[in-house]
């Protein structure tokens, strides 16, 4: 049986992992330890990080060092590879130190979690990417950015919020294009996303929310009254959303360009 998460809702229902994670765990349930190790260490068809975390943090699974070691080493090797790409030397000073600290913290957290009933790492089985991103943010905050001055401080808004009758969507498109160009596919790169996330987190809250929703594909406006728009979600006018987006894109463009140059 796959061990349920110990953390429960107010109705004493265990918290759920994502469906695809539960599915992989179910497919591995009941395998003999040797077969399990073979499957988890297979690089041809790598299991999600959440699955490795599951086997690493639960002592109830009774995996001894013979079987836990190859699972751990596979996890660690993949973690190092992911961190090397996301916290790159070209982006941050002391990147190697930061990567080391991140890896060390995670190893310590798993070791502590194995000896505890507190279920501190349950979320790493639910959404590893988000959990690791949060940890990265914490560590990056501690070490600070590579640059001595924050370009966001010097960024000047293109326009102040106003109700002038300009074609708002068009302006936002231009600002977005300038920010993402010349390589739109960069948005899918891990290193770019981590830098972007860091830059977005540094924006003022109203701009952060507008750009965050826009990046998720939520429309600024819609003819469909049932459709959720950024303006509805943020409880403001479309014009306001557009101005926030323009300002945010301009700041992000400056930050990302400055980092590209370093």
């Amino acid at each position: 049986m796959v061990l349920p998460l110990k953390k429960t809702t107010q109705d004493a229902e265990p918290y759920q992992r994502r469906a695809e994670i539960e599915q992989v765990l179910s497919s591995l349930d009941g395998l003999a330890p040797d077969q399990l190790v073979e499957r988890l260490t297979c690089t041809h068809q790598a299991v999600p990080f959440e699955v490795l975390i599951y086997f690493l943090r639960h002592t109830e699974l009774e995996l001894g060092s013979k079987h836990l070691e190859p699972i751990f080493r596979t996890f660690y090797g993949r973690l190092e590879a992911a961190l090397r790409k996301s916290v790159s030397d070209t982006w941050i000073d002391y990147a190697a130190t930061i990567r080391e600290e991140l890896a060390e913290r995670i190893v310590e957290m798993i070791a502590k979690d194995r000896d505890s009933d507190e279920e501190k790492m349950y979320y790493w089985e639910v959404n590893f990417n988000h959990a690791l991103s949060n940890l990265c943010t914490d560590v990056l905050r501690k070490h600070g950015p590579a640059r001595e001055t924050d370009p966001l401080i010097n960024a000047r808004p293109l326009t102040e919020e106003s109700d002038s009758g300009e074609e708002v969507s068009h302006e936002v498109d231009i600002a977005a294009a300038e920010f993402i160009n010349p390589n739109p596919s960069k948005i899918d790169e891990v290193a770019f996303r981590l830098r972007l996330m860091h830059a977005i987190n540094e924006l003022p809250v109203d701009e952060r929310r507008a750009v965050g929703l826009w990046l998720q594909g939520m429309p600024i406006e819609s003819q469909d009254p049932e459709a959720e728009t950024i303006a509805q979600a943020l409880e403001c006018r479309e014009r306001t959303v557009s101005n926030r987006l323009k300002r945010a894109f301009e700041k992000l463009r400056i930050v990302m360009q400055a980092e590209e140059l370093q």
Binding site: T9, Q10, Y15, Q16, R18, E20, A46, F49, T59, E62, L63, G64, S65, K66, L68, E69, F72, R73, T74, Y76, G77, R78, L79, E80, A81, A82, K85, S86, A103, E104, V107, E108, A111, K112, R114, D115, V126, N127, N129, L132, S133, N134, V190, A191, R193, L196, M197, I200, R208, R209, G212, L213, L215, Q216, G217, M218, A227, E228, A233, E235
Partner: protein
């Protein structure tokens, strides 16, 4: 009564983070259903959507291997009772604490006699020669881990009180007999011996 207000913010946020598809449509659905947590949901959705997909890059093998060193560090942090600990806590011999009745019952379950089981309990059999399958069956019957049982049975042999050794000196590992010797010298029936031999590792 509005039932949605009864759902705690933590539960709603967790539910959202466990969604397989966290796109704008999913967020819109949550915003409609839980308007009271609007800002928290928006912030969470942004964090999740901008988080890198670490799995995608993780299959790339790095030159050099720090994982062995990391494993040693990890193992040294584990509690001595952890099944993967570097210095496994010597588990109390799970066969020593059984009542007479449970001891007899276990012998029956394992299809061995009490003499053979006593030898196992007293660590008189070299663990390395005991078939893994037999150790698994015993561990399962005792509800302990195979590794824990193996470690407990690997202790120096226990000398029953009242017995005296003819030889001088303390009994050591060399005094242990092999599994095969235990089979032939414990008054087990031919059928019992054959069944136990069947379990021998290839």
């Amino acid at each position: 009564m509005n039932t949605t207000t009864q759902v705690s913010k933590d539960n709603v946020l967790h539910k959202f983070s466990a969604e397989s598809n966290q796109d704008a449509d999913t967020l819109a659905r949550y915003l409609k259903r839980y308007p009271q947590y609007r800002e928290a949901l928006i912030d969470l959705s942004i964090e999740i959507s901008t988080a890198p997909k670490f799995d995608e890059l993780a299959v790339e093998k790095l030159p050099g291997d720090n994982s062995r060193q990391a494993w040693s560090k990890f193992q040294s942090l584990l509690s001595p009772t952890d099944p993967a600990s570097t210095t496994p806590h010597p588990m109390d011999n799970p066969l020593s604490n059984l009542s007479d009745e449970r001891f007899r019952e276990l012998a029956r379950e394992l299809n061995v006699n009490r003499l053979f089981l006593s030898r196992l309990r007293d660590c008189s059999i070299q663990v390395a020669t005991i078939p893994q399958q037999f150790l698994s069956v015993v561990a399962q019957a005792l509800k302990v881990s195979v590794e824990g049982l193996t470690s407990a049975l690997d202790s120096p042999p226990v000398v029953a009180s009242g017995l005296r050794h003819k030889a001088s000196g303390k009994p050591g590992a060399g005094d242990k007999i092999t599994f095969e010797e235990a089979l032939t010298s414990s008054a087990l029936s031919e059928t019992q011996q054959a069944a136990l031999r069947e379990m021998k590792d290839e």
